[in-house]
Amino acid sequence: MKLDWSILWGDAGLLILHGLVVTLQLSAWVLALAFVLGLAFGTLRWIGLSVTEPICWFYVEFARNTPPVVQILFWYFSASYILPGWLFLQLRDFGYEFGAAVVALAIYHGAFIAEVVRAGLNAVPKGQLDGARALGLGFLQSLRRIIMPQALRITIPPLVNESVSIIKNTSLAMAIGITELTYQYKHIDIFAFRGVEALAAVTVIYMILCTLAAGLGHLLSVRLSHHITARRGLRPVLTSE
């Protein structure tokens, strides 16, 4: 079979660029929402109130042990049963696929981020909280000013890995017809029979995106742990997923 790369400079290229924009939008929304969810649930689990613990456990374990694509299908197909009728009808006019994918992926990755945040909080020595409380800071104040800054610094490398896997998992949104990169490949394959070229282009774009995200995250973690590096003469190492 002869490959014709020139099609990437025409309409197919525009479709892929459009897909790239959608992928980036989806990733940004999911990252922001998942971070909020993860921070909230991770902190709650760290505090460990007996009232909230079963709910947090259920959320984290259920979200982490089930496939993201089934979660996407669940939120997409049951939206009309879960949401009140008037809201669903409003959403349907604009297309709620994007929202369903954002919600599902944010819930999925939020659970992973919650565990990361909890581990980071646990890594801060207990004496830090006791010291802050003894100096007269309230609980929330010591959490925000003393514990969180130390914990988040430790969690940067795993959070970077999580954002890379968020970018990769946005490809699952094609299951409900969101026009992101992977969907555009299918589209070009079906309508122009130029699957291999489109697939190669999409693969390269994903590689660049993920490498960029990992590199930026590495820079961030080097910057944030600069004081530790300077003191101990160590270089921080990116941990694997």
């Binding site: 089930t66 496939p67 669940f74 197909f77 490949y185 697939l199 994903y206 993920c210 694997s240 997923e241």
Partner: protein, 234 residues
């Protein structure tokens, strides 16, 4: 909630074994498990090789391994599945759906397991390696008898996590039309039409039970004395 519409005997049979008994086609949970477990076994073996290569001091070994890991970790699994399924036909070779998902999933998981093995090997204290070399063990012997057994126990929690991800990832097979658990669930949902919550909750519950079971089993292995008692008869 009308779970009784989903939980009929016929639906359970399709969810668990697909059309195995009436058409002889494996499907459902059985296919998911066969796919997931075989890719886990192959990827663990290949990943151990990649991890050992990656930890080698010879650049000719460590650089290709590092490139492999980096390349396969920065592409979505779905894209790999599409490569494995749609690329061979351009050479006139038709790969079955099962094989292509198995190849893609295995290559993808191998990269992650290689990284886990690499981390495990690095976690073994260098004094142990130096002591083994000083006692006259060869490089290979040091790896096989000193480094890898210790690394193995350090890797177990990360490996357990990766295995669960592999089982979850088999659900992508439905996007090229393989009749795995997710595809069967989708078909049942499409036939019932008005019970999506019930269908997908059932699917999520099955996946949850399988994955929780797998991680609990792996946790049993983490107890070193129990591991020795069962597998090494010590």
């Amino acid at each position: 909630m009308q779970f009784e519409r989903v939980w009929t005997a016929a639906n359970w049979e399709r969810l668990l074994v697909g059309d195995l008994f009436n058409k002889g086609v494996m499907g459902g949970l059985l296919l998911t498990l066969v796919l997931g477990l075989s890719s886990i076994v192959i990827a663990t073996l290949l990943g151990a090789g990649i991890g050992v290569m990656r930890s080698s001091t010879r650049r000719a070994l460590s650089v290709p391994a590092a490139i492999y890991v980096q390349a396969f970790r920065s592409v979505p699994l779905l894209i790999l599945i599409f490569w494995a399924y749609f690329f061979p036909p351009t050479f006139g070779v038709q790969v079955s759906k099962f094989t292509s998902v198995l190849i893609a999933l295995t290559l993808f998981t191998t990269a992650y397991i290689g990284e886990i093995v690499h981390g495990g090997i690095r976690s073994v204290a260098s004094g142990h390696i130096e002591a083994a070399r000083a006692l006259g063990m060869s490089r290979l012997e040091t790896q096989l008898r000193i480094v890898l057994p210790q690394a193995f126990f350090n890797m177990l929690p990360a490996l357990a996590g990766r295995y669960v991800v592999s089982i979850k990832n088999t659900s992508l097979a439905f996007l090229i039309g393989l009749a795995d658990l997710t595809e069967i669930g989708k078909q049942i949902g499409a036939r019932l039409m008005t019970a999506p919550i019930e269908v997908y909750v059932t699917l999520l519950m099955i996946y949850f039970v399988v994955n929780r079971g797998l991680s609990l089993l792996m946790r049993l292995l983490e107890d070193r004395s129990r591991f020795n008692r069962i597998f090494l008869r010590i």
